[in-house]
Structures are given as C-alpha cells and as structure tokens.
Symmetry: C2
Subunit: 195 residues, 2 copies
C-alpha cells in the first residue's frame, strides 16, 4: 500500500480545519485518521498524544489570531486601532470556531513555543494600546480588560449564551464603543463620572 505522505505539520493543519467543521470537543484521533486515510494508531507517528495535538492546534491558532489582529490595526491608532482589532478578533473567532476554542487552553510555562504564541497576541494588544500612553500596570490592566471583553463576548456568542434574538452585531458595536470610552478615561478615573 502506498504511503499517505503525512508529516506533523499536515496532521495539525488537517486537524484544525476538521475542528472548525465539527467542533473542537468532537475532534477524535479516529475521526482525524479516517479523514487522513490512515488508521488511528498510525497518527502516533506524527504526534505525541491527543493533548499534544491540541497544544499544536492552539499554538498555531494563537499565532494566526495574533497575525490577523496585527494586520487589522496597521496604520491606525487609538480608538480606530482598537476598533479594527476588535472586529478582526471577532470575525476570525467566528470563522474558526474550533481553532478559537483551542486558543482558550492555557500554555504550560515550559512550552516555549506555546508561551511565545501567547506573547504574540499580548504584544499586538499592547501595541494597539500604545497610543493611549499607558504605563506599566495601567497598560497591563487595560490589556487584560480588552482581552476579557473580547474573549467574553465571543465566547458567549459562540456558545449561544446570548439567548435573545436582538442583534449581536449591534451589541458588539456598542461593546467596542464602550471600550473606546473606557480606554479614553483609563488613567483619569473621574473624567466621565460626572452627571
């Protein structure tokens, strides 16, 4: 019988596409092997374990997301950059639900490739917030808030957490507006609280 001509890279790429189609939770080695035209144990020639496969998907996905976010913000600053990045984030997440789910896995500190992917996303967000002149802890806090808002929204959206039929696009638009407002008043806490 002829060989399938696989390699670790091809396996991960097929797996991430498969995961987007059927959902990360439904990804099994047997299913992936069938899709690749081989038997399940043969997969172990290209990967270490199911866990390692998911880490591989997660790492690639994080780089891809970081890249998408970075491209979206090129040539923009402050609220325009935040807005562009937020939209790119949501569009990518919805277009790649399996990969996005994979990005939610936290990296183990000793996995340098995975932590580097985390750092890539972090760096993009930090760059996007550069125009706000936030320093040290303020920058970290704002980065976390931005990631939390985007991640929370997309997670709730993709998991069906927004039961109501009201426009999710509109809600996201308003969330981003809220983020812009909050970032404008980030260092000056009293700026917007007067009524």
């Amino acid at each position: 019988m002829p060989r399938a001509g696989l390699n670790p890279s091809r396996v991960i790429q097929e797996a991430e596409q498969f995961a987007d189609e059927i959902g990360l939770a439904n990804l099994t080695l047997a299913g992936l092997a069938t899709r690749l035209g081989i038997r399940q144990p043969s997969l172990y020639k290209h990967l270490e374990s199911m866990d390692a496969l998911q880490v591989g998907i997660a790492t690639r996905a994080k780089y891809e997301l970081a890249d998408t976010m970075a491209r979206s913000a090129v040539g923009r600053s402050r609220s325009a950059a935040v807005r562009a990045m937020a939209y790119a984030y949501r569009v990518w997440a919805i277009a790649h639900p399996g990969r996005y789910a994979a990005t939610q896995r936290a990296s183990t500190p000793d996995d340098h490739e995975a932590t580097s992917a985390d750092q890539a996303i972090l760096n993009v967000v930090i760059s996007v917030l550069a125009g706000y002149q936030l320093t040290d802890d303020d920058a970290i806090d704002a980065t976390r808030a931005l990631r939390a808002a985007l991640h929370g929204f997309v997670t709730l959206e993709t998991s069906g957490g927004f039961g109501l039929p009201a426009s999710i696009d509109r809600s996201f638009d308003r969330l981003v507006q809220g983020l812009e407002v909050a970032l404008d008043g980030w260092t000056d806490r009293t700026a917007c609280q007067a009524r």
Copy 2:
C-alpha cells in the same frame, strides 16, 4: 447490603462539590459513584445521562450565581450596584470553579428549568442596570457587554490566561472602573471621547 439513601438532588449536590474540587472536566461517573459509595451503573437510577448531570449542575449553579449577584446589589444603585455585583460574580466564580465552568454550557431552548436559570441571571443584570435608564436595545447591549466583560475576565483568570504576575485583583478593579465609565457614557457616545 444496606442502601445508600440517594436521590437525584443529593447526587447533583455531591457532583457539583466534587467538580469544584477536581475540575468539571475531570468529573466522571465512576469517580462520583465511588465518592457516593455505589457502583457506576447504579448512578443511572438517579440520573439520565452524564449530559443530564452536567445540565443539572449548570442549572443549579446558574440559580446560585444569580442569587449571589442579586444579594450583593441589594440597596445599591448605578455604579455601586455594578461594582458590588461584579465583585460578587468574581468571588463566587473563583470559589466554585467547577460550578462556574458548568454555567458556561448553553441551555437547550426546550429545557425550561435551564432557560429559567439563564433568565434569572439576566434579570439580575437588567435590574442592576435599571438606574442607568437604558431602554430596549440599549439595555440588552449593556447587559451583554457587562456579562461579556465579567465572564471573559473570570474565564481568563481561572484558565491561567493572564500569564503575567501583575496583580489580578488590581486589574479586575480597573476593569470594573472601566465598566462604570462605559455605562455612564452608554447612551451619550460622545460624552467621554473629548480630550
């Protein structure tokens, strides 16, 4: 042999406590049965399936969370209510990681008990936002933004998504401040964008 004296309620309560201890993902029927002093197949006398058990945990957890949030905001309004609710949300989620993970499961529309639990949380958030005089879609958008921010922050925190050692308490505090600022400027989009 004497009977264990179990019932569906006791099984779910033990399961949610167990899930908090070992993580929802590590909850197995075999483990739960051992903890209850019975064999794995015997569990099926009290539950329909693993899936149904998780729905049961999720529903109870959603009610518990809604109750916690509601109590925290009693006697408070506007930013004080938002702040109190946000803190109660995070404290409860961290104290009950298994249950909180369970709440992330979306309800199937035909499960009235589960959707009612969703509604309970929604109602609390809507009540807390009542002081902001938001109408219709604005209220929905603000509710979604608030839930997204809280859910995203807690999820990233509990999954280890905040790799940096910087104070997470402080970051959460700043997030809540950001929410207050954003809600103050919710209907008047230009209010806080002047620099």
